[in-house]
């Protein structure tokens, strides 16, 4: 398996009446895009806006963030999401638009939607403040129930990302990276002097706004599976607008999985990246036992010495994380786990609700309960009042002077558990 990623740098975006990419400027025909999105008859209206880095702007409630992408030879960028026909991800040539993202917002579906500040202290806590946000505001018809509402915005998001990605297809100015993922025997035989390493990616599979989609299939219907990292990079995984904003693994995070990036970066130098296991984390104890058992069996079958386990969500998924860690360590495979912590607003509480003694190597992406005061901004895209209902906010979040007191939990991807953030916590 071989994937060529053509990374196209987008310097600016213009919303208008034509589709064109020239000199780093992306022109989008929003009329045509609107027609495409409105094909879903559950949608009442859709509109578009832009938020640029450094601008005094706040977007909320954000559901998902997606990097615009398209395949050179056509076909689905997010296979299984938009068509019946299945093509495998991780092959051929894919255009990835860097510097901009599609951000979905609109009336709130649930409590799990977050905010993005484009400037000020809040901007430091989200990687999305660094990108031009092409914001898509989607409103649904009254009779569309919460589960369908989530599906509507999820599908609209990837549709828009593919549509916008296609605008840059054929562009000559790109940076090329070719990723190889040979057959398992060849991978195993590579770099015999280097330690063999696997990656276990936990993903949420727990219902409304707690789901992940693999080739369009709800991961609640999946058991742990060996997946190619190239499939991750090429749209096989789509976020079901998962989990609370701070710990949310958006579709952008799946496409740009920080652990996969780093493992490829060190592949052949410090380690041999041999395999990846996707572990859906479900609600019942029996499912958790089954998942953790199968994950350890799959990791063992890869013949690796060590594994990194990343997390999504917190609370009951911490038990999945700890069980996987314990089971894998008991196979004689060394682990490092990546998790956030909930140490209370004062930072004085125990950090995690579950722990095993085998978890002796933990990378923390920060205390999600820590609060931050965000200044008033010039422009809100979406609805500020929704902060009162989402994770990280409460009825006292909006202060009389217009400032916003939230836990960093409320900021999109603030403590992303795939390690795609600089945030960490220390004890003082």
């Amino acid at each position: 398996m071989s994937l060529e990623l053509r990374k196209v740098q987008v310097k600016d975006v213009v919303l208008g009446k034509e589709n064109r990419f020239a000199d780093g400027i992306l022109f989008i025909d929003t009329g045509e895009l609107e027609t495409l999105i409105m094909e879903d008859q559950r949608i009442r209206s859709v509109s578009f806006d832009l938020a640029r880095p450094g601008e005094s702007a706040r977007i909320l409630p954000v559901k998902d963030v997606i990097e615009p992408r398209a395949k050179l030879e056509g076909g689905s960028t997010f296979p299984g999401m938009l068509s019946e026909k299945m093509t495998a991800g991780g092959k051929g040539i894919t255009y990835a638009l860097k510097g901009c993202v599609v951000t979905t917002t609109g009336p709130i579906v649930g409590f799990q939607e977050g905010l993005i500040d484009m400037s000020g202290p809040g901007a430091d806590f989200t990687i999305f403040s660094r990108y031009i946000n092409i914001v898509m505001i989607i409103d649904k018809h009254d009779d569309v129930n919460p589960h369908e509402h989530e599906e509507v915005v999820r599908v609209a998001g990837v549709k828009a990302a593919q549509y916008i990605g296609q605008i840059a297809v054929g562009c000559e100015d790109y940076e090329k990276t070719v990723y190889e993922w040979p057959a398992i025997g060849e991978r195993y035989a590579m770099y015999p002097e280097l330690p063999k390493v696997a990656y276990v990616c936990n993903c949420m599979s727990q219902g409304l706004l707690h789901d992940t989609y693999f080739y369009g299939r709800d991961t609640k219907k999946l058991i742990p599976a060996m997946v190619s990292p190239l499939e991750f990079m090429d749209g096989a995984l789509v976020s079901g607008n998962c989990v609370s904003p701070g710990s949310k693994t958006t579709t952008f995070h799946h496409l740009n999985n920080a652990v996969i990036d780093e493992l490829f970066h060190r592949h052949g130098k410090d380690l041999n990246f041999v395999g990846l296991v996707l572990n859906p984390m479900m609600v019942t104890l029996k499912e958790k036992y089954r998942g953790a058992m199968l994950v350890a069996e799959l990791v063992e079958s890869l013949g690796v010495e060590a594994a990194i386990i990343t997390q999504e969500g917190f609370g009951n998924p911490t038990t999945d994380l700890m069980m996987a860690c314990k089971n894998i360590e008991e196979k004689g495979v060394k682990t490092v786990i990546v998790t956030n912590e909930d140490a209370g607003t004062d930072g004085m509480s125990e950090s995690l609700p579950d722990m095993v003694k085998e978890a002796d190597a933990i990378v923390t992406t920060g205390n999600s309960n820590a609060t931050i005061l965000l200044p008033k901004v010039d422009r809100v895209i979406g609805k500020l009042e929704d902060i009162e209902r989402v994770t990280g906010g409460n009825v006292d979040s909006i202060k009389p002077d217009g400032t916003l007191l939230v836990e960093i939990h409320g900021i999109m991807g603030s403590h992303n558990l795939q390690g795609n953030t600089l945030l960490t916590a220390i004890t003082v």
Partner: protein
């Protein structure tokens, strides 16, 4: 010129050894005993007086000693209390740390002490005061006095305090967020490679082991017992009158259910952000099974169902907040004669 009050024991105050351990607290003008090792190293600050007290006396007469310290603070108006270092001396450690915690918490005076890492006073007081690392015995007095004086100068000058490792104090146990130079994924790979090679590495989060909750003894006769329903599933009256947050709740609600035999859809809702609430909103009894409880009461299996629902959202709730809310609920339930509880989670 800032004023420092010094605290030491009979031994380092040069009164005597174990035979003088019951010496009552006394005050001396200026530095006395080991306070002289600190005095020349303080910048723009001087030791105005030294409190001396026998270790046994302090340990057995804490209130008297605190009252004595209070008098001295009121007389000298110090900017700081410097105590110790206590090395590995248990009773001296407790006296130093207690004196520091007292002046800091009760009198608002900055304080600083030091001791060896195995001194039992460390775990008792580290959360509330600065305790610096000191040697095991008085052999390290000169070195420890220097480090304490340096940090005292910093505190007195109001300069920003560095991290525990940089300054040499024991972490107080508070987790704070900082931005690292490398992202979490890069740090994870670095840590993994060190672990594979058997090189030293430092976990970013220490393993904590929790108290195991001992199950209570069984209810003697359920047919006569008053049983309450509690949930961390965030089921509240529609409109969420107590504004219980979707996550990180620090409050819980108690809702009157008298006259009801079930929680009716539409009257109750889930405000919990940690699970799919659609099915709970369709039938709130799925999360808080009050209907089943009432049926069991009707059948005589349960003596009486407590006519209130105690509810909060157990979602990203810190262990400390959860423990406190649990204590609060239990106090209320015990006062109301509840003998057993069914606690539903999500």
């Amino acid at each position: 010129m800032k004023k420092v009050l010094f605290y030491t024991n009979q031994f380092f105050g040069q009164i005597g050894g174990e035979e003088a351990a019951y010496t009552e607290p006394q005050i001396h003008e200026g530095p006395k005993g080991n306070a002289n090792a600190f005095a020349p190293q303080l910048k723009d600050a001087k030791i105005v007086a030294t409190i001396l007290c026998g270790d046994n006396y302090y340990a057995e007469n804490m209130e008297t000693c605190r009252a004595f310290i209070r008098e001295q603070v009121e007389a000298y108006h110090p900017d700081m209390l410097l105590a110790g270092p206590a090395f590995n001396a248990g009773r001296f450690g407790i006296a130093c740390a207690d004196a520091c915690a007292f002046v800091q918490e009760q009198l608002g005076v900055q304080s600083l002490t030091a001791m060896y890492e195995e001194n039992p006073a460390l775990e008792m007081y580290r959360k509330s005061i600065y305790i610096m690392q000191a040697g095991k015995s008085a052999a390290s007095m000169t070195k420890d006095a220097k480090r304490m004086a340096d940090f005292a100068n910093k505190l007195l000058a109001g300069e920003p305090v560095g991290l525990p490792k940089e300054e040499g104090y024991f972490p107080k146990g508070r987790r704070i967020n900082v931005f690292a130079e490398k992202n979490g994924a890069v740090r994870a790979v670095d840590m993994l490679l060190a672990k594979i090679k058997g090189e030293p590495f430092e976990t970013e989060l220490e393993i904590s082991m929790y108290d195991k909750v001992q199950p209570s003894t069984p209810v003697k006769d359920l047919r006569k017992a008053k049983v309450a329903l509690l949930t961390s599933g965030g089921i509240v009256p529609r409109g969420n009158p107590d504004h219980i947050p979707a996550a990180t709740a620090k409050v819980w609600g108690r809702y009157d259910l008298s006259g009801m035999t079930r929680l009716d859809a539409g009257d109750w809702e889930s405000v919990h952000a940690g699970y799919d609430p659609v099915y709970a909103n369709d039938d709130p009894n799925r999360v808080a099974p009050y209907n089943t409880m009432k049926e069991l009461e009707k059948e005589g299996i349960i003596g009486e169902v407590y006519p209130y629902l105690c509810s909060t959202t157990g979602n990203s709730t810190s262990v400390a907040d959860a423990t406190r809310m649990g204590d609060e609920m239990v106090r209320q339930l015990k006062a109301d004669g509840v003998e057993a509880v069914i606690l539903t989670s999500t």
